[in-house]
């Protein structure tokens, strides 16, 4: 019996704890304090503090890739623009809708969906709640973009063109490689941008560099990426560029083992293999995210459109660590090419058709 009493006592304590929780829930002072403190900072620049949140895809916020980069962009906005940002991680595909719903209830001014996997959910949410602003990374709704939504896409073909040029100029064997993840609009742009960069180098420097191309058919299979890269190096390629997410880790691993050169993607991947990664085709999602927040803050939210970020906006580039391996004269040339791209003298192709067109103009 005494045991029963003990258990009962424990239960009572537990119930009381819960009651206390309930009270603190009803009492709003706790919640209101924090935003109030931070609004002071916000007040300096603007009357009202903007609340922003982002919903990640299943990669999570620390994915070493675009989710992480987007969150860095929002944190920078918090610091510079006095906004208040939060994130919500998705753990499975079915979380997208419920997370967007939660974000809506938290009375955010701008809600980000990170990655094209959320495109359907973001569009549905935007159409239903036209008083809230939505934005999505890596997806364009084209003419169907709701007025309160904006698509943010990147010209990944531009940095790919630059690294293609570098690869062709530095190749001693006359063969370079490209390892793609899965075929999609984004990866195709990396692919043909790179091809075009090699073709351009062949033309201006009178070379005959060939490109080997293969897809890993997965973004999360390093073993496959390694196998492909190994076979490319054996076929005589001495520089391989990958746009294959996690599978690309295997490509870099292969380069390390065979002591060959490799080119990274999305972020500066120099730290993964300092002796082998000569440069990276960087896609700064954080810059894109930051700029949209800034536009919203200044009342210029580009709703109903798709914003395209390229070299001009500093949202794509080659890695700052490129000078460690790439000779200075090539880097100087790259700077010139950047100007040509920004001025529109070079129109970098992004798919098969535009690539064919481009190659014709070189002849």
């Amino acid at each position: 019996m005494s045991k029963m009493k003990k258990i009962l006592a424990l239960l009572m304590i537990a119930v009381l704890t819960f009651a206390a929780v309930g009270c603190s829930g009803g009492d709003k002072t706790n919640d209101d304090k924090k935003p109030a403190e931070q609004t002071e900072e916000g007040n300096k620049t603007d009357g009202k503090q903007l609340k922003i949140t982002m919903v990640t895809d299943v990669g999570g916020v620390n994915d070493q890739s675009f989710n992480q980069s987007a969150w860095e962009g929002l944190q920078k906005a918090d610091k510079d623009l006095g906004t208040k940002s939060t994130y919500q991680e998705s753990h499975q595909e079915s979380d997208y809708v419920s997370n967007l719903e939660t974000a809506l209830d938290a009375e955010n001014d701008l809600i980000w969906g990170i990655g094209f996997k959320l495109s359907k959910a973001v569009k549905a949410a935007a159409e239903e709640n036209d008083d809230v602003k939505y934005a999505i990374v890596d997806f364009s709704y084209g003419d169907d973009t709701p007025d309160n939504a904006v698509g943010v896409v990147f010209k990944q073909e531009q940095p790919s063109f630059l690294v293609g040029y570098i690869a062709a100029m530095m190749s001693e064997t006359g063969k370079v490689g490209f390892v793609g993840g899965m075929e999609s609009e984004v990866i195709t742009a990396f692919d043909y941008g790179y091809h075009a960069g090699v073709a351009y180098a062949n033309k201006v420097a009178d070379k005959d560099v060939k490109v080997l191309r293969q897809y890993a058919e997965a973004f999360d299979d390093p073993a496959k990426g390694k196998a492909i890269a190994n076979s490319m190096y054996q076929q005589g390629a001495d520089i391989v560029f990958h746009a294959a997410g996690g599978s690309g880790d295997g490509v870099i691993e292969a380069a390390k083992e065979q002591d060959k050169y490799v080119i990274g993607v999305d972020r500066d991947q120099h730290d993964l293999a300092p002796d082998n990664v000569i440069t990276s085709a960087m896609k700064r999602v954080n810059v894109g995210v930051y700029n949209v927040v800034k536009d919203l803050k200044e009342g210029k939210f580009p709703g109903g459109t798709t914003v395209v970020y390229g070299l001009e906006e500093g949202a794509v580039d080659i890695a700052p660590t490129s000078d460690k391996h790439v000779p200075k004269e090539i880097l100087d040339k790259v700077e010139e090419i950047k100007k040509l791209i920004i001025d529109g003298e070079i129109e970098v192709p992004f798919d098969e058709d535009s690539y064919e067109e481009y190659v014709k103009t070189l002849k």
Partner: protein, 357 residues
């Protein structure tokens, strides 16, 4: 007996919350505030309640699946793979077949059950024919299911262009409540569907099978002591296959209900989503009781749905929230786990007496 178990479980829940509170306190967040956010996130609005139910539904069904296999002395770690197969088949039937409403949904669910039953039955056959441990085969079948599903989603006829997901199921296969109900209550803003009711009916049916039928008696006898059951004239091998197949069908139904009611498509999976693995925890919390799985599933679903709301509300890193939720689950399941492991070991080793309940 039942009452004691219930008390045990409730105490474990509070111990879990308490330890979780200490972790939050240790990293500098007010646990009362955090749990307040969580509880408001679960019960604060009618639509939160409906979301909790929606999130719980597949967990209830996979929980019953694991519990059912456990009653026959089988550890079904393959609920995840069976869930994936069920979801895939339900989507295929839901998209490619043209059938009248209601019938379409029922056919899709039955086909999903059938496919997942065969899938899990494979593990059962391997166990009964060759003595291959079902833990190993079901884990391996999980991976095969994952990649099979991805391969099928990449099939041109099935994949929605410019996406990493399949086409949506046809309207006729949907088991959602009509959208017009939205005007009645906030509750219906979430994709509320028949899944929860189906799960409750299934729980009652499974309880009935286990308690009141010859089949259920045989299955349980095999679970208590397979040697004694064989001596008593029960075909142990056949019962192992049947038990796995039924467990598979239940997980497959979970996948079907999730697709037909919530996602309406299957996406390329980079990793396992955990609906089946969480089912193991649900089954543990429920003490392998089918009816208990309803409440355990709701508890688990609520923790998952409400718990992750703490992160944006308080700015705590999501890892901390995952640790807290993990700790709570750990404590909830632990007493049961220990209790069960000891009894299972004793049964497998010595072959104890057949318990009668």
């Amino acid at each position: 007996m039942e009452g004691k178990r219930l008390k045990f479980t409730i105490i474990s829940v509070f111990v879990g919350l308490l330890v979780g509170a200490f972790i939050l306190l240790a990293v500098g967040f007010n646990p009362l505030e955090a749990y307040g956010v969580m509880i408001r996130g679960i019960l604060g609005k009618p639509k939160y309640i409906s979301w909790t139910i929606i999130q719980s539904t597949p967990l209830i069904l996979t929980g019953i699946s694991v519990a059912f296999a456990f009653r026959t002395g089988l550890f079904n770690i393959g609920a995840e793979g069976q869930f994936i197969i069920g979801a895939l088949v339900a989507t295929l039937v839901g998209y490619f077949w043209n059938l009248p409403p209601i019938l379409h949904a029922i056919v899709a669910m039955l086909m999903a059950c059938l496919a997942a039953a065969i899938w899990a039955g494979l593990a059962g056959i391997l166990k009964s024919k060759f003595g291959v441990n079902e833990v190993i085969t079901t884990i391996m079948l999980n991976w095969i299911a994952l990649y099979l599903s991805n391969a099928v989603v990449f099939w041109d006829q099935f994949k929605r262009p410019n996406s990493e997901a399949s086409y949506n199921i046809l309207e006729s296969a949907s088991i959602r409540f009509p959208k017009t109900l939205r005007s009645i209550s906030d509750f219906f803003r979430a994709p509320v569907n028949w899944g929860f009711i189906i799960a409750i009916l299934v729980a009652i049916l499974i309880r009935h099978i286990l308690k009141n039928t010859t089949l259920g008696y045989q299955l349980r006898a095999v679970g208590f002591n397979s040697d004694a059951a064989e001596y008593g004239g029960i075909d142990v091998k056949r019962n192992i296959v049947i038990s796995m197949a039924i467990a598979g069908a239940l997980s497959g139904l979970a996948g079907a209900v999730h697709v037909l009611g919530v996602t309406e498509e299957v996406a390329v999976l980079a990793a396992m989503e955990g609906n089946g693995f969480d089912g193991i925890a649900v089954s543990l919390i429920a003490g392998n009781n089918a009816i208990g799985c309803i409440f355990a599933g709701l508890l688990f679903g609520a923790l998952k749905y409400g718990g992750y709301k703490i992160q944006p509300a308080m700015g705590a890193p999501s890892e901390i929230i995952s640790i807290v939720i993990g700790t709570i689950v750990f404590f909830i399941s632990m007493p049961k786990l220990i209790e069960m492991l000891t009894t299972l070991r004793a049964k497998r080793k010595r072959g104890g007496e057949v318990e009668s309940k």
